[in-house]
Symmetry: D2
């Protein structure tokens, strides 16, 4: 990671990743919550690694900025983590983030108790992840859920230090506080070289610059694209129902031309044109051959 | 199809399908354009049947209203169509729509020429689709691209009649006119019992009731959810960039509680609770057994 | 399950399932060990449910006899089990088998300790599975790994009874003994109505009829197809290397005609012919139309 | 490609690829026929690129020798070919082979007519493939089906030259002759620098060395693993049926230990051990923390 805070944006498909890149974000967060929601299921370890990987791979192919994949608790034990790292790496993802909750994890913002694994068990997963990677640039982020699970700042710091020392390239300190106070305290007390990542979903009054000044190296806006889409789609669908047609929404939604541009249609047409001009310019096929074996011409 | 016009809404994932059901639409259109766009690729036969099927299957599992899958040109010849029908049927999709363009098809709204297959070749695909289905309720819609390809109303009607007579459960007449005139003329001249489906993407001044009066039996708003989402996500991402944080967007986007509800989190928690109470109420495990083989308790 | 013992054969792809059906077996066992091996990974919870499901779904589409899917420990907790059941059911699989080991499970024949979950936790999974299914004919088998984990016959029976009473449609008693003695003792002591399934991988001296007389209702030959294939492919590859060509193996391997028959090529050709004759017999396409919009005929 | 002929072996899953590597072959052919057969469907463009890609990707992850993917006719037009190349490249596949038949292709050994695309149309696909690749080492093989389609040697040579000149890294000349005569004539007349690949499925009397002397640079034994497996599995299943058990086949099939070795179980156990010793040696978790938030210990 370079100087300055990295601003990452959550997405749940390649299109969202491309919109994030277009808006100027530095990285894409392949969000477990967003992807689960887009599949209509809770963010509770229900989607498999395969399903998460598929989405992250499409994202990685769609943007030139790094994609960091939210990999829950690593989908099992150290063997699963090692396998996971190799597969995400092969899919072109820049890095993964695993958290110290038991599998199957529950979304950190859901009601109910949260269960952590012992520190050393999770440190073993970090080690396994780093050991498995083949590309030295691949990043493994260790996510600390101590504050989410009801533990205190000391617990969070102790865990973070062990994860950093076990080889994590960064630690992510998560919280669902509405004030950034404890996160800022964590940043102030952090005594390792490894960067700290934060996710101000609930303590949203803080800015990226605030967090940078406090020592954070990466901030993730993890689920706002999904939430914006849900709001807009809900309203648009209701408006279509009310008007019994789309006349009232046409002005408020992206044009087909915008969609085509996001799909790289112009590039596709240019590429198709390049490779088809050849066939026009070099008519070397003997007609006699055609008649006997080619697909029969139209009647 | 029952009496009255069926109002269908396009979607590209299970979440969008659920939003469509929630808004009161009668059916979901698993849109090739939307699904392609969500993967960041043109709607030009690039995504495979497998990828389209996966999304349609997730939609079918997420809603109780019918899902109709946009199946492009049927992904090949009659063999491919037959295989496709069996797979979409097995995935719980209520029906498929195939169009009379050559494979790989180009989106009907994209610039450039559109190529059709001969009428009888496409009628063979309709036959193959109907022959392949196992569930008698499965629906095959034959989509007429004659007007899109620059042919006239008579051509469109001639094609539609052959498709209907070949067994299509409905025909879809497509156009990119800004006026509904030709579509209304088609409906007026239609002389088969089979229902007609319309897609007023460009001639959006017409209402569903207008179309019903003219004889249409199904109207598809094919891509408005995607376009609403793109607009909203773009604006939200820009706002986050401008404010260097999410404070200004929090009021405008769906809450996490809304997202959780759409994911059926309450149902999942209730189900989990039901099956876990059992273990609390019947402590029949002998401790001696536990010690020897269970996962070692935490230190 | 009907009268008489059901003889099931393991497979790892649709072709193997079809060979099993052709040989006269009553059911197919979608084997976790076989499928893991065919992907080149250990049978240790590395492949995801998605990957296992995909194979089982292909099998179910390829044969008319029931496919029972080996679903390891259920891929997580009761929520995962419920999700799993709905997905396997939707894929056309006749039933699933889950085992009372911790996730991620290790293959029962691998060296090293085996960890079980508490009885009641597993009974909760059985309940969750039965509660989730929609098709009343769907079968849930509860697999008892007590003998594999080093516990005794009484432990195995106690577990089996709780699983049967929790709703399992059958219990599978597994062992890696070389003698059938303990399995026969289990069958003799079994005092529930629910059928018992056995897997004589290591105690292979016993016959299906022996097991039937002892009270077993289903016997699974779980991995012999894979092992036969590995042996034959290894020898064939070595022979090709030795001879620097395939001359010496041609007599020993299936012909291409045999392969085509297993792929249902004759059925495909007949179907293709049926739907294409139509286009030959009804040449209603006006040539003028063709010239303007059809794919240009060959030069 | 280096000096000497490359001997490649066909496979349809990662396990087969590993057996090929183990037997000393130089490369793996991810065979369309084998993969189709393993899914129980004809080799006729029924499986999608996604399904073929998935298998090829697993193979590439399982072996250290190159995997060449049989990509039929490129799954569509130049746009599809470009997309295909990027996806196979990303999956770690060393190269692809596309053939000059129309989509959907029919297996070259199946009865019935074979349709080719015009030379220049296929040359455009070669160009598109080479233009799309990002890794300079990625290989695109242009497969000539002229002899399969009933054309003569001059046609085959003319096509091969155009494909080579269009950028193909090699050409594959296919035939279903029982004598190698025409293939040897093709090799004798070949006047481009690009290597020639041959597939002696039907003219199997020839050896790899014969082909090398004649100028071939790669020989593919395309489907013998599948055919060996089908033969052995059929016989084994019949033997199990006859004996009502596996006693008679135990000696003839690979042991579970052999299977475990092919799955890399020993490596997995060593890796797991490495990362778990850490947790045993550093018991730094404070018990007080455990009680409040960890998963409850067993009763």
């Amino acid at each position: 990671m370079g100087p300055g805070i990295i601003r990452a944006i959550g997405a749940h498909d390649a299109l969202g990743a491309r919109l994030g890149e277009q808006a100027g974000f530095d990285a894409i967060w392949s969000s477990g919550l967003e992807i689960s929601a887009s599949h209509g299921v809770p963010d509770a370890g229900i989607l498999t690694m395969t399903e998460m990987l598929s989405v992250a791979g499409w994202m990685a192919g769609a943007v030139s900025i790094p994609v960091i994949a939210d990999c829950d608790a690593g989908y099992g034990n150290t063997t699963n983590v090692a396998h996971m790292v190799r597969r995400f790496e092969a899919a072109g993802v820049a890095g993964v983030c695993i958290e110290d909750k038991v599998f199957p994890k529950m979304n950190s913002f859901m009601p109910g108790p949260q269960k952590l694994v012992p520190i050393e068990e999770f440190a073993g997963k970090i080690e396994a992840a780093k050991y498995a990677q083949r590309n030295p640039a691949f990043v493994v982020i260790g996510r600390i859920e101590a504050l989410i699970a009801g533990l205190d700042l000391d617990d969070a710091l102790r865990r973070g230090r062990v994860y950093a020392d076990a080889g994590a390239d960064a630690v992510l300190i998560h919280a669902k506080d509405t004030s950034p106070e404890r996160i800022l305290a964590f940043l102030g007390a952090w005594d390792r070289e490894k960067p700290v990542v934060v996710v101000p979903t609930t303590y949203w009054s803080v800015t990226g610059s605030d967090l940078e000044r406090a020592g954070a190296r990466m901030v993730i806006y993890a689920n706002h694209g999904l939430r914006a889409a849900v709001q807009a789609v809900t309203e648009t669908f209701q408006a279509i129902r009310r008007a019994d047609g789309t006349a009232t929404v046409e002005e408020c939604i992206a044009s087909l031309e915008t969609i085509f541009a996001l799909q790289n249609v112009p590039q596709m047409l240019a590429d198709a044109d390049r490779h088809s001009t050849r066939s026009n310019s070099q008519p070397t096929d003997p007609p006699v051959e055609v008649e006997s074996v080619y697909e029969s011409p139209e009647p």
